[in-house]
Each structure stands twice: as structure tokens, then as C-alpha cells.
Symmetry: C2
Subunit: 316 residues, 2 copies
């Protein structure tokens, strides 16, 4: 399926939709599902979103009236923002081999669905959904506009990340034109941090160690802090990137002991460095700019191991 | 002057432009001045930007070749983003009563210039400049596009603040379409913080006090920290709002002793509270959501004074 027109046609030809989101659904998955579900209903279709038990409470109100946990043989199962069946919701094993259509923006999409609409130059799946709504002739409501705004803003770190394009801004502009009230959304998603998260960042910063003229930062995040400050996994969102927000830092390592007896390292690097290569030494891997690995032992063991690697690579 | 068309016409009819920015120029003032200067040159005009000694080093390269510190009687003096003559650059007394045209978005513009083009529903002056470039028939270059992007993104906190409109996003979309390379700009302006700033935030958070079930936060910022951590005034940008980024905080106070013998309080409030009213008790004032005041004495004296006010007002 190549064009949004073909995508719209296919959707108009079928009915009784069930929309899947991936496990630990983020703003893009959730927002895209909501906007698509409402859009399909607007053109007279029956449409529901699969009750993914990991939807965060933050979006509960927006999902109200859209969820279902039943499915029949006639149901047309489609997915949004889901690159592989390995990411099916934790209560979604039954959908293996059952997805009729995948709407996605991940270049790594495995083609698990019968049909795939993939646009990998989209910053967010929400961009595709917005265009689809236009193609379907749906007049976007405030609810749809806000759902798409949540999708595109969260997947771009509020338009900060390198994936942001002119089309991303254009989608946001249209969402606002169609009534999206973005100020409270922005404040909740991008401005406010929980007291626990801020206290945790405070401790991370106070204990962060710098090497090689401040170009390398290593921070340990003991699980005892997580418990003591009562921070949730939601609070810890993208904490791995925190040491890289310090001016001058090119290579950052965050070490956690969330799994007892293991030290897990998240490595983030700027251009000219290779996180994946460093993590490879310790049996891990990932991308050039972001990779991970782990060793047996304590936080200190992890720190020693990754520092040995960085020394071997002449980074420190 | 009501329409962008009239504004463009006026600019085409004059020549030999000198563009003023306000004291302590921010991203909007600087970016608007750069884009306007380049745009005027693109239509064959002579145009320069007044060498405001307070331009931050961050924008030095972009200002290269645009600055002047000479002015003649024939010079057409115009200003961008400057609401009042009280904000003339620290080396700009000579321009009192001399501004021919003010291009601005502040509702508080005093009308100090012979002509004023004011659009107070613009999030940034840069939005106006972009429309003006279009009206002048200028094909925006990468330099102009990036200058306007800096203007609109900084004045909206990277599209987070409540002043962001569909037009803001549209302007950003067009800037990207015209070659603005926004990823490095976003990282430098919105992602990276200096080590000193982060260490300062860390201390602020560790010492912040909460009252009334966490809805009120009070933080002291001793000048000794500023000196010890070698943080600059640039680093301290919008630090007053920091306690308000904690989830649940409705009323926040930041107290500084940057002026010896005085405690200066910055109060920030959510809807339903009145910062201006609280500061009024201590001889200060401002807006409902953001106000300031000061008392003689130490940080502790300041804290005591503002706490007395908050008790009187049943806030704590």
C-alpha cells in the first residue's frame, strides 16, 4: 500500500475495526489509535481500541468509550505504530498472524501484517493518521486534533528531536486550527516533572562523574533511590539520556541495578563516537548514538567495566 | 500601520536602515533583527543592526557582517521586539525619540516610534518578520529561515508556552522548508544545560521546601552558589520558574540575594492564585501569574516575609 488514498480506500471497504497498540504504548501509539478510532467512527464504521493493560493513566479519559477486550472472527485487526509482532500488547498473543493492516513509521517494520502502510520519513505515526483523516474527508474534532497533537509532540520531544520535519510542524498547526488546546497538554507532558524525578535528577547530578575534560559523564542510579523517592517507571522516562543534557558531554553512561546482581549500562554518544561498539565489548549492542549492555555485579562493577572499555578506546 | 502590505510598502519606500534590538536581547529580538536585515538587503536596501553590546556570544556568528556602530542623520532607525524606549540598548540613549518604525508583538508597546506595526497575537516578533519577507517577495535563505526559527522557538519555549498558535507552527514549518537545520539549534537552545546550571538546579531541588500538601514550593538561591559554581546570568535564564516545574506546585517562590543586603522574591502562580497580590504586600508587583518583590535582609528574612504573606492569604 503506497498512497494515503489507497489506505483510505481499504479502510472504507472494511468494517468492524480493532486497533492494536504496542506494549508499553507511548503518546504516539495512544494518540494515533484514538484519532484513528474516532475518524473511522466518523465515517460510519464500527471501531474500537484493544484494551492494552499498559495504557498510562494520563490518557485514560481520552480512551473512555473507545476500548474493548472482545474480538470475533469478523473483526478487522489493524495496528498503529507497531514495528513487529514481538511488540504485541502483553495480553495480545492471540493476535499473532492476525493483523490485517499495519500503519507505521518505523523503518524496521517487519511486514508482519497482511497489508502495510509504512512511511518511515514521518516523525510520528500521528502524522500519517492526520493525513488519513483528511483523505477520508473527516472534519477533525477537538478530540482527534488533540490526540494527533499528543502523537506528534511526544514522538519529537515537543519538536526538539532531529526527526522533526516541516510536515510535523504543519500537522501541529492544523491540530491547533481544529481546536487542540495545547497549553495544558504541553505543561503536563513537557514542563512538569514529578518531585521524585526531580529529586532523582538532583542526586544524579550531585554524584555524576566527569572525565576527559568534561566530555564523558558517568552516573549511577541505585535502585534504592528509586524506592526511597517512590519514583515510577513513568517518572524514569528517558532518564538514560539525562547525563547527555550536560553541556559539553559527548559520551554518557547511566548505570542501573534495577535487576538484582546485574549492572545495566545505557550509553549515549554524539557524532564521532560509537555507543554500539563500546557496548559490544560487554556483549551488548544497539545504535551508534544509543546502546546498552550489562555485566554481573554491582553498580561499581559496571562502572569499572565500562571505564575499561572507554580507556581501551581512548575515550577517557 | 495595520497590514503587512502597508509595512512592506513603507520599508520599500525608505532606505539606509538601522535595526535596534532591546537591551539584553533575547532570541526573538536577535533572530528578528537578523532576518529583517538580510531581507532588506535582499530587496536592495542598505541595512545594518545596531551593535548592541549585550548580544550573547551564542549568536555572534549569525550577526557577523550585519553590525554597525555608526549612524548618520539620514539613517532610518527601526526597532524590532522593543516595547518601550526604556528598553533601548545600554549604548542607545542617542536613539531616544528617533525610532521611525517599531515592529512589535508586545501589547504594552508605548507607541514611542513615529510608526508602529503591532500584532499582539503573534507569539514572537519573528512571525511578523517571516510574513513581511513573504510580502516583500524575498525568497528566504537558510540564514533567514534559521534566524526566524530561533525567534519563534525561543519566545515559545520550543512551542511549549501558551502563546504558541497555529501560525507559530506554520512559521516553523516554512522555516524548515526553506532549509533551517533545526536539530543543532534545538539541542543547543533547549536540550543542553551548563554543568553549573544543572548543579545549581540539583542544589535547589535538594533544599526546596514544600508546604500545603506540596502545592507551595519555596527555594532559596544563595549568591555564594552562583559564584562557587561559576554560573553566568545566561545560565540562570528563567531559573525563577524552576520550582513551578515540580508536579503539583501551584505557587512557587524563588528567593535570591544577588543584591547584597536584599532578598528578592520571584513568585509564580497557577490559575486561582495571584502572584501580583502577594507581592503587593511587600511593595512589589507584576502579573497575576508572575510577580516580584524584595525586602531588606537575608534570604531567611525574605522567606519569613513571603511566608507571612502566604499565611495571611491562607495559601499555606
Amino acid at each position: 500500500m503506497k498512497t494515503v488514498n489507497e489506505l483510505a480506500k481499504w479502510l472504507l471497504e472494511h468494517d468492524d475495526y480493532l486497533i492494536l497498540t504496542h506494549r508499553r504504548p507511548d503518546g504516539d501509539a495512544t494518540g494515533s489509535a484514538i484519532a484513528l478510532c474516532l475518524g473511522l467512527r466518523a465515517v460510519g464504521k464500527t471501531a474500537h481500541i484493544w484494551a492494552n493493560p499498559q495504557f498510562t493513566p494520563r490518557y485514560a479519559e481520552r480512551l473512555d468509550g473507545l476500548l474493548t477486550d472482545t474480538v470475533t472472527d469478523e473483526t478487522t485487526v489493524i495496528s498503529v505504530d507497531m514495528a513487529t509482532e514481538g511488540l504485541l500488547p502483553i495480553n495480545g498473543d492471540r493476535f499473532e498472524g492476525k493483523t490485517r493492516l499495519s500503519i507505521d513509521h518505523h523503518p524496521s517494520n517487519t511486514g508482519y501484517a497482511a497489508h502495510t502502510f509504512l512511511r518511515s520519513d514521518s516523525a510520528a505515526c500521528g502524522e500519517i493518521v492526520w493525513e488519513l483523516l483528511e483523505e477520508l474527508g473527516v472534519t477533525p474534532t477537538k478530540e482527534m486534533a488533540e490526540a494527533v497533537y499528543i502523537a506528534v509532540s511526544t514522538d519529537t520531544g515537543c519538536f526538539r528531536f532531529a526527526n522533526t520535519t516541516a510536515r510535523t510542524f504543519m500537522t501541529a498547526a492544523k491540530a491547533v486550527e481544529h481546536g487542540a488546546d495545547i497549553a495544558p497538554i504541553n505543561r503536563a507532558l513537557f514542563e512538569i516533572k514529578s518531585r521524585g524525578r526531580l529529586q532523582l535528577e538532583s542526586r544524579l547530578m550531585a554524584n555524576m562523574e566527569f572525565f576527559a575534560d568534561g566530555t564523558v559523564a558517568i552516573a549511577c542510579l541505585p535502585q534504592t533511590w528509586v524506592e526511597e523517592l517512590e519514583v515510577t517507571e513513568d517518572d524514569l522516562d528517558s532518564i538514560s539520556g539525562f547525563p547527555r543534557t550536560v553541556d559539553g558531554v559527548q559520551v554518557s553512561v547511566l548505570i542501573r541495578d534495577s535487576e538484582p546482581g546485574r549492572a545495566k549500562m545505557s550509553v549515549r554518544t554524539a557524532a564521532g563516537f560509537d555507543a554500539s561498539r563500546y557496548c559490544g565489548y560487554l556483549g551488548g549492542g544497539g545504535h551508534k548514538a544509543a546502546a546498552g549492555c550489562s555485566v554481573e555485579g554491582t553498580l561499581m562493577d559496571g562502572k569499572r567495566a565500562i571505564m575499561d572499555v572507554l580507556k581501551k578506546e581512548n575515550v577517557i
